[in-house]
Amino acid sequence: MKKLAIGVYLFITVALLGWAYNQAIYVAPNDAAQGEMFRIIYYHVPSASVAFLFFAVSLVGSIGYLASRHNHAERAQMFDAWALAGAEVGVVFCTVVLITGPLWGRRAWGMWWTWDARLTTTLVLWLIYVSYLLLRRFAAGPQMQTLAAVLGIFGALDVPIVYMSNRWWRTQHPAPVFGGGQDSGMDPTMVGALLWNMLAWFLWGVLILALLYRVERKQQKIAAEEAEHALNF
């Protein structure tokens, strides 16, 4: 029954990714100013949105771990696994943002990169979470999970700064498409393509998040068994 549910979910996700690709490439019209290149938005913006969402999962996991580590050891490990999974999947989506952005920037602005507020804060966000993953990978000892949780919380503080950066400061990056004032907004067909891609990539992200969570929980159980075995030996 569980395998069937996973199969159905996988099928829906893949079908939606195909549908969303079709909407982005064949259905949405070319932008009047930027032409075909504007279609990068259908992968760039959903990737950023989904990255923010998974960094929020990591934040909740980190707070949950710190809150429950003394009283509920098993629950704390679950929170820790969610925190790690959220951070790792968030980094994957943030990497997509940081590669598709410069490809778009090269054509739109004539340069790959500029140190404006939106780009810089996004790079800082990515670096914080990469350092979180490196800490998880290479540090050892009982304090590692606590340190990682604190870093995860600090990393998440950068998310609202990234989101607000092109509202707070004058940037090379375009003004917000939605909720950015009187002149913001898109053609309804473009909005449709954008929302389909957001939904499809969100479902894809949830799929890999769930698989990563499962792998991490198994890893925790193996580590606990090995520690118990070593104590008994």
């Binding site: 930027q34 279609r39 992968y43 997509v96 590669i99 598709t100 778009w104 054509r107 698989l211």
Partner: protein, 92 residues
């Protein structure tokens, strides 16, 4: 058969990465700022349209390369964890 499947899911993202790089690296040069001295507006627009097309394709390709590459890595990790779990239970 299983090894072939694993090799395939690892190879596809690598090929996609290579393809994205190829699209960008082999793109025609940008028209110069004084392009009006060298070419017609139609020629200029054709070059710009080609560049836009190649960069858009590269962005889509690299997105799939990253996502499929990560999923492949995760799948391989999960498989090896399953196999080592089986090995452990046989030892016990």
């Amino acid at each position: 058969m299983k090894k072939l499947g694993t090799a395939l899911i690892v190879a596809v993202p690598i090929v996609l990465f290579g393809w994205a790089g190829y699209l960008v690296l082999t793109a025609p040069p940008e028209p110069p700022f004084d392009w009006r001295l060298h070419m017609s507006a139609a020629e200029h627009d054709a070059i710009v349209a080609t560049l836009n097309h190649l960069y858009t394709r590269a962005a889509y390709t690299v997105t799939w390369a990253i996502q499929l590459g990560y999923a492949a890595w995760l799948f391989v990790k999960w498989q090896s964890q399953k196999q080592s779990g089986q090995g452990r239970s046989m030892q016990d």
